[in-house]
């Protein structure tokens, strides 16, 4: 924010005094409405002005394939929500899914075909010219090697690419930086089936995750989070034993998933498999498990007794045995292997070992089912990619086409071989690292503008349709281009339909194809159940983990700390980095936004003499990066961790040049099972540099454990609670004062019962169940999307000027004196207090109480004294320090066409006004209008604020507190219920339900 005093700016400043004065006087809030009215030529029958239209489609931000409802207004998509009918996400959506909107409206999209000139720059050319060139190169490249690299494609487009590459004698590589080779290979070793099964987490009573981050990024996070909350959130009605599943997380680093575990086992990196085998051994030896034939693995287990592995794993044998017994006794247990451990050199063996554990305990066929297999295994293995790179190096590739993948960012060897390729073509929406180095760039359509389909898992056929007119008319779908190249006249939509028609014929449906197709369009796809197949242990299972139990060898000098590179929960492998919402979304664990960091254990940090924000130089055998330290207790002292996703050298204004690229530290060679290794030993050197971390959390010294904010109950106590108990309800005033206080409040109510306030009114309120909330932060992005919240950028974020109405607070507890580390999270938003401290201090009634119990904030009345924010004990009011809507301004939040995503029902706030959570008042008013037109009252459930709508674990419930039958009213009476800072007598409208944990700690 340093102020260069350049002349124009200086004059523009002085301008304020002169003509500016009038302009200032006229400043309203938000942008002025259009002064010209341009009617449609023909009114689209599915568009009613001022009313939203929903289109069902499929999310393509990760391979999970969640169903979407795209909310469009006047023909523009303004919000993405989950499709309730989708069997994957059941109407819920993660932050990355929400942010797809900023992909389609990204200001740096490729808008026209570009070709490399003699000077080496990319210049616009016409489509005819582009197709001409492409056609020629395809002709001459025939036989000389043609390769097509796409992202994970489990749909008709993938088939088209296969068909096309076959036609021209090329090959198709579906490249995913985080592919799941280990799962496939592990399952082959264990059961002889190279597939990724379906995991029934929802029905599990004991969840054991060997590094599988199924809440952050693993396989299908939204599906699993919903399932997880069903199994793991406390529900007394399920009875004593079933009230709440236990969740144990094994892994070197406490990820978002690990943070939600009841017990964290920081096993030595690479020994997770040993632990699994030892547990299996105990179960078999003590006959705790199912009566299954363990013949193939008997010797294997014999070699891996708890005592044998304890040393390598770093956990005493007793603990291992205890875990094994708990796991077996729980009945419906499930063990998951994935995440970082599945990317170790011995990842496949770890997976196999965990499968054996599942098998001996009898989980396979119950909570782990083969049949409805995930489609992630349709991605090529890393080995295939490495082979391609080798061929490129060797000049065996004359023509390379890339679509929907960005190996230029995640695989440096790919870019080294790049120049050896005769002609490089990219179908791209953004000029990413790969596209910006290509010879020919063809503007592709964003998935929200495309026809396509996806098969997240066997039996689920998700359809993908354009939800709006293309933003850039000159862009064309890769599928259409390929068909044109192949000399076919029909479009990709026809191609897609023909495939569905064929499938329809095969299925021999009763309904006509058009009916099926139209229904599929309405419902977002066709959802069937694939039967499950029974599996037995394969002989190969016995041959894993040959040799003495020991941790695997990682590249790099022994003695150096092991670095693990984990997929960022917001940016994933980097594909999210061009979206300001995701950049500004604090990491669920570190709470850092806009840049990458390296996680270091406090002891280690002390040893190295580094503190938060100190830069260290990380040197691996494959590369070196400079990274700012983030000290966190959630990691092994001998391990450091870095997120992927940042460090782009291209990909538009929001991604380019941000901190470092974690992939630079990793080996470009495939490991034993054809996967990529995401762990390596690094030498760590201190540097002199320092930066302020862009963290939404305050200084750790000040933050503390947050006992006043987040209440935690041990399971035992939670189960003793009877309806009517209120362990957290503390008296707000001494007994003798109560009557006086109540009397006073009553008088106030009488006095206030005038005009609009007379008569019965609803009392909008919310209940948040902390035993369900995982801290995934989907609600945060949903709030940004719904309420036109400005993203402020790194500089202002460092100054704690982010506008996030909904923030996820994360406190660390324990850690000292051997007690377990625990991260607890809570959503913090405006509490809509009945006796709100913010209201009486506002000199102009901009903050005031509505008859229906909201703390309203009238933007256009606010003069910005900020007194309300000082007096708010929850600190949930946010101030517009700049005009974030100013076109071309230094802090412009929505450069065109990003402004198309703005919600027309919500005022865009102007500089100098206070803003905060409104409980999505626009949705409340909308529901009231609807009810009035239908001559009825608003029912419970008519109104769902954006945060509650998106929450994958269904932790947030909204409704009318005055209506005893409403869900929120019932939850508000729950024994676990409490109000934050109750002692201030604010009578807040949000009831938090205490978090429940296994074990003693509270």
């Amino acid at each position: 924010m340093s102020e260069g005093m350049n002349r124009r700016r200086f004059l523009s400043v002085l301008g304020v005094t002169g003509g500016g004065a009038a302009a200032l006087g006229a400043c309203g809030v938000g942008s002025e409405p259009a002064q010209k009215l341009i009617p449609y030529l023909i009114q689209p029958e599915d568009q009613v002005p001022g009313t939203a239209t929903l289109f069902a489609t499929t999310c393509r931000e990760c391979p999970a394939g969640c169903g979407l409802h795209a909310k469009t207004r006047e023909g523009r998509v303004i919000k993405l929500e989950g499709n309730r009918e989708s069997p994957i996400n059941h109407g819920r959506l993660c932050a990355r899914g929400q942010a797809a909107l900023e992909g389609v409206y990204n200001p740096d999209r490729v808008t026209t075909p570009l070709a490399r000139t003699a000077q080496g720059t990319l210049e616009p050319i016409s489509w005819d010219n582009a197709l001409q060139r492409l056609g020629d190169h395809v002709k001459e490249a025939r036989g000389k090697g043609i390769a097509f690299v796409t992202g994970h494609e489990a749909g008709v487009f993938g088939e088209l690419v296969d068909e096309w590459t076959r036609g021209v004698g090329g090959r198709h590589v579906a490249y995913e930086p985080f592919a799941f080779e280990a799962l496939r290979e592990g399952n082959r070793l264990a059961f002889g089936i190279p597939a990724v099964p379906w995991y029934g987490i929802a029905g599990a009573s004991y969840i054991l995750s060997f590094g599988a981050d199924f809440l952050d990024t693993w396989l299908s996070p939204v599906e699993y989070q919903r399932a997880f909350s069903r199994a793991h959130s406390f529900d007394a009605s399920r009875g004593e034993a079933e009230a709440m599943a236990k969740f144990v997380f094994v892994g070197p680093r406490m990820s978002l998933t690990g943070m939600n575990a009841d017990e964290w086992i920081p096993a030595a990196p690479g020994t997770e498999g040993l632990l699994a085998l030892a547990m299996a051994e105990v179960i078999v030896r003590e006959r705790l498990g199912a009566s299954v034939d363990v013949g193939p693995v008997r010797d294997l287990l014999g070699r891996h007794t708890p005592d044998a592995v304890a040393g390598a794993v770093g956990i005493d044998a007793e603990a291992i045995a205890r875990l094994a017994r708990e796991f077996a006794k729980a009945g419906r247990g499930i063990a998951l292997a994935g995440g970082i451990p599945a990317h170790y050199p011995n990842g496949a063996e770890i997976v196999a070992a965990v499968n054996i554990l599942n098998y001996v305990v009898g989980a396979v066929g119950k909570t782990v089912q083969f049949g409805p297999n995930s489609s992630v295994d349709m991605a090529s293995s890393f080995k295939e990619m490495v082979d391609l790179v080798a061929d490129m190096q060797a000049g065996k590739v004359a023509l390379l086409l890339v679509q929907g993948a960005n190996p230029g960012h995640s695989l440096s060897s790919f870019m080294q071989a790049w120049s050896k390729v005769g002609f490089k073509v990219c179908f791209a929406t953004m000029l990413d690292e790969t596209a910006s180095a290509a010879d020919l760039v063809l503007p592709d359509l964003h998935p929200l503008e495309q026809w396509n389909d996806a098969r997240p898992r066997a039996g689920v056929f998700a359809l993908q349709q354009p939800v709006m007119q293309r933003v850039w008319p000159d862009a064309r779908q890769a599928g259409d281009v390929l068909l044109a190249l192949a000399g076919k006249s029909d479009t990709f939509k026809d191609y897609l339909q023909s495939h569905w028609r064929a499938a329809h014929a095969r299925a021999g449906h009763a309904k006509s194809f058009d009916d099926v197709w139209n229904e599929a369009l309405q419902h977002g796809g066709v959802y069937t159940d694939a039967g499950s197949q029974s599996v037995r242990l394969a002989p190969t299972a016995g041959h894993i983990m040959a040799g003495a139990p020991a941790a695997p060898a990682f590249d790099g000098n022994t003695g150096d700390p092991v670095l693990v590179a984990f997929p960022s929960a917001a940016l994933y492998d980097g594909r999210g980095a061009d979206k300001p919402w995701l950049q500004e979304l604090p990491d669920p664990v570190s709470k850092i936004a806009w840049h990458a960091w390296v996680e270091v254990h406090p002891e280690t940090a002390h040893k190295w003499g580094v503190v938060d924000g100190d830069y260290v130089l990380l040197t691996s055998p494959f590369g070196a990066v400079r990274a700012p330290v983030s000290v966190t207790p959630g990691i092994r002292p001998d391990v450091v961790a870095v997120p992927t996703g940042q460090g782009h050298t291209a990909l538009g204004r929001y991604a380019k040049g941000r901190s470092f690229n974690a992939f630079d530290l990793l080996s470009g060679a495939a490991n034993g099972y054809g996967g990529r290794t995401f762990a390596v030993r690094v030498a760590v050197t201190r540097t002199r540099d320092h930066r302020f971390l862009a963290s939404s959390a305050g200084d750790p010294r000040d933050v503390g454990p947050g006992e006043e904010i987040i209440r935690v109950l041990p399971l035992a106590r939670a189960q003793q609670l009877k309806p009517g108990d209120h362990p957290f309800l503390q008296r707000e005033a001494p007994e003798y004062a109560e009557p006086a206080l109540e009397g006073w409040a009553e008088e106030q109510r009488k006095k206030a019962n005038l005009g609009d306030y007379a008569g019965p009114h609803p009392r909008w309120a919310m209940a948040i169940d902390l035993s369900s909330c995982t801290g995934c932060s989907a609600c945060v992005t949903a709030c940004y999307a719904e309420n036109n919240i400005a993203t402020v950028g790194e500089d202002l974020f460092v100054r704690h000027r982010q506008m996030s109405w909904m923030r996820i607070e994360r406190y660390w507890r324990g850690g000292e004196g051997g007690e377990p580390v625990r991260g607890v999270v809570t959503p913090m938003l405006c509490q809509h207090c009945e006796q709100a401290p913010c209201e009486p201090v506002c000199p102009v009634y901009a903050a005031y109480h509505t008859p229906d119990g909201l703390n309203a904030q009238v933007y256009n009345r606010c003069v910005g004294t900020r007194y309300c924010a000082n007096n708010c004990a929850y600190k949930v009011r946010y101030f517009n320090w700049y005009n974030f809507a100013e076109v071309g301004g230094e802090h412009e939040a929505w450069p065109a066409p990003l402004d198309w995503q703005l919600n027309p029902d919500v005022t865009v706030r102007e500089k100098g006004v206070m803003e905060k959570c409104t409980f999505c008042v626009q949705r409340i008013r909308g529901a009231q209008h609807k009810a009035r037109l239908e001559n009825r009252v608003v029912h419970d459930g008519d109104i769902t604020p954006a945060c509650a709508q998106s929450c994958p674990s269904e932790a947030i419930v909204f409704g009318d507190l005055h209506n005893e039958t409403s869900r929120v009213a019932q939850l508000a009476a729950d024994p676990r219920g409490y109000h934050v800072l109750q002692e201030l007598n604010t009578k807040s409208g949000i009831t938090y339900l205490a978090r429940v944990v296994h074990g003693e700690e509270a």
């Binding site: 938000g30 409405p33 259009a34 009114q43 001022g50 009313t51 005031y848 009345r861 626009q922 008013r925």
Partner: protein
């Protein structure tokens, strides 16, 4: 959009129009209005529009109900600006009686055939921080309540703003009618 299908669409709209007069009779003032001949458009209030569309002829003389063109006023917050198709639906047949009228109607037909909708100059504007749900007011005041705020458009050769549309003006009516004056009903 092929020319053929556009004509077809227009035809349908025309058929609809035949049904209008019947509908038009209901709830309309009995006294037949005869739209005056306007010789001097300069003397008219309100902004000059790209096409001299005469509400007094359409809504007044021919008693076309407001909602025939402003189709979403009763169901949505926005009243809805008629698409060129709506205009052309009638003016495919109706060509105008006087040279002046023919000239204007020709513009409509050109707009249709060139696929260039006219850019109407906005007459009634509210600041972006005010949310005015038209349907609630129609619901409360009836289908002919338009005049309450927009004046008797039926007699306006060229539409002009008759009410101030300031907050004070809104509030005064809400006070009279004893309906809510809660800020967050309009401001959010």
């Amino acid at each position: 959009m092929t020319d053929w299908s556009r004509r077809a669409a227009a035809g349908i709209a025309f058929v609809l129009l035949l049904a209008i007069p019947a509908a038009a009779q209901t709830g309309q003032p009995a006294a037949a209005v005869k739209a005056p001949v306007v010789s001097d458009t300069g003397s008219l209030g309100g902004p000059r529009q790209p096409i001299f569309f005469r509400h007094d002829i359409h809504a007044g003389e021919y008693k076309i109900p407001c909602q025939y063109c402003h189709f979403s006023v009763a169901i949505a917050s926005e009243p809805g600006i008629p698409s060129v198709q709506t205009c052309f639906g009638c003016h495919l047949m109706v060509g105008g009686s006087t040279p002046a009228h023919e000239a204007e109607i020709q513009k409509v037909r050109d707009a249709w055939s060139n696929e260039t909708p006219p850019a109407w100059v906005r007459v009634h504007t509210l600041p972006a921080f005010v949310h005015f749900p038209h349907m609630r007011h129609i619901k409360a005041l009836g289908a002919n309540a338009c005049t309450t705020c927009h004046g008797n458009v039926r007699e306006m050769p060229q539409v002009r703003q008759v009410s101030t549309l300031t907050m004070g003006w809104c509030v005064s009516c809400h006070v009279q009618k004893q309906v809510t004056r809660d800020c967050s009903v309009c401001h959010y």
